[in-house]
Point group: C2
Chain length 296, copies 2
Amino acid sequence: MKFNNLPIGIFDSGLGGLTVFKEIRKILPFEDLIYFGDTARVPYGNKSKETIIKYSSEILGFLTDKKIKIAIVACNTSSSLALDYLRKISPVPIFGVIEPGAQKAVEVSMNNISGRKIIAIIGTSATVKSGAYSKTIKEKAMLLYGVKKAEIVSISNIDFNGFNENLKIIEKSCPLFVPLVEEGFLNEEITKNVIKYYLASLIKEKPACLVLGCTHYPILKDFIEKEIGDNTEIIDSGVETARSVKNYLEKSEMLKSGTELGSETYFVSDDSERFKELGGKFLGRPIDNVYIVNFS
Amino acid sequence: MKFNNLPIGIFDSGLGGLTVFKEIRKILPFEDLIYFGDTARVPYGNKSKETIIKYSSEILGFLTDKKIKIAIVACNTSSSLALDYLRKISPVPIFGVIEPGAQKAVEVSMNNISGRKIIAIIGTSATVKSGAYSKTIKEKAMLLYGVKKAEIVSISNIDFNGFNENLKIIEKSCPLFVPLVEEGFLNEEITKNVIKYYLASLIKEKPACLVLGCTHYPILKDFIEKEIGDNTEIIDSGVETARSVKNYLEKSEMLKSGTELGSETYFVSDDSERFKELGGKFLGRPIDNVYIVNFS
């Protein structure tokens, strides 16, 4: 068996990707991890595709200069809009968070015993507008479950019908969730009201699963779970991404050798104090080794 | 009498400065106006002083290259953190939104017949953390109203005592107001609850006035007014800035000649569609002449 002792590079527009980082650390304790948060230009969710590709490419270049073995785009917006481009220019294998989340959503909805083949996805405006989850889910459903015909009705409400299978995909943007999380949820009543407001139209559809299509959303998982009820499985794209990265490293014989706990290094483009403070809450433990990088 | 027919340059981190732009247009209908919104890097409110200075300097350079007669920093965060630096490098007179708002607050509180010499200020985290309003108010109170001794207790709760005058200044950050406005307020209940939550501690103090220390906040003015009651005067820094700019142009004989309505040109660093859509709501009329500028 072979090994690869180079670190794994993980990046996000800011802090959110730390929920993915946390899941990777949980199941790959020996890997060295490098995290990059683009805190000078956060958030990406309301920016154009061109700008997101430009920023993401700069970060990928920074990480690959540090000699990493794989890169993980721990940002749904960047995964939605920039991953195709990044795949073309990346010298190392690169993973996004959309595909693992979409894969799990297809499995859950297709195997749902109640027959409700309905998938709900929540994310930032840019992620939803890109339709990346819908497109990926559609492709996977066609490939893996024999859906033969597909029709896209609208970007935020996509229905498609296959030969033996019907699948409905609903995407909904929840732009206030990120500031709510970054504000420490404010208070319980406000958080509940905002969640209720955004999810009302989704709950009516009784989806088999709800994909948390933004790395900030796992922080609100308990609240969302209460609101949406027991019959909808919540899918955390970060958890699924960590699983698929582990799987890839094992199959490609690229795991780090030894059983020494891996190192963790963080780079940000602005203000490491805020990153340390709020990021510590995301990870559930203090953050050290934070360095500021100036891009221009 | 002399005239100056060059345009006025106005800039902000994004859309918010359009509330200042609107006030300037209202009282200076004949001036040509150039607006710059840094939509690729918005918001500034959670970024460091160094980064805000860097971004603001780039924009000032862009505007002065276009040959303007004066520049207005229509952004409280940038006015708080970058204006001192910008004044040093600017080839044209430059105005921020803090000083006019602070001036009005001092007048209102010092002349308050009930004797409540308490000023409340709300803004982004960066504006409040900078203490720019408190410092400016303190200086003006000392200079104009004979306050002789001043003591700063804390950045977010500053008391100072003068010879015959007591003045209390309270600053409070309301980071959810900007996303609320950009989301079109969501619904009335959520907006009311968030405003209630943030203002609770301020209302207890029964301030003589409340300064809207962020250019997005005038959009929420009606809601804020209802919550805070009739005995607190609301001060819109944008309105005060427009007045002081008009005053300056008149005194310096720099008004534009003639009575032809002025032109309006907008530059943004990203995605002019969103700017047009939401910006139109801010201005209360459609926005044309939007150009995208790429900074690097």
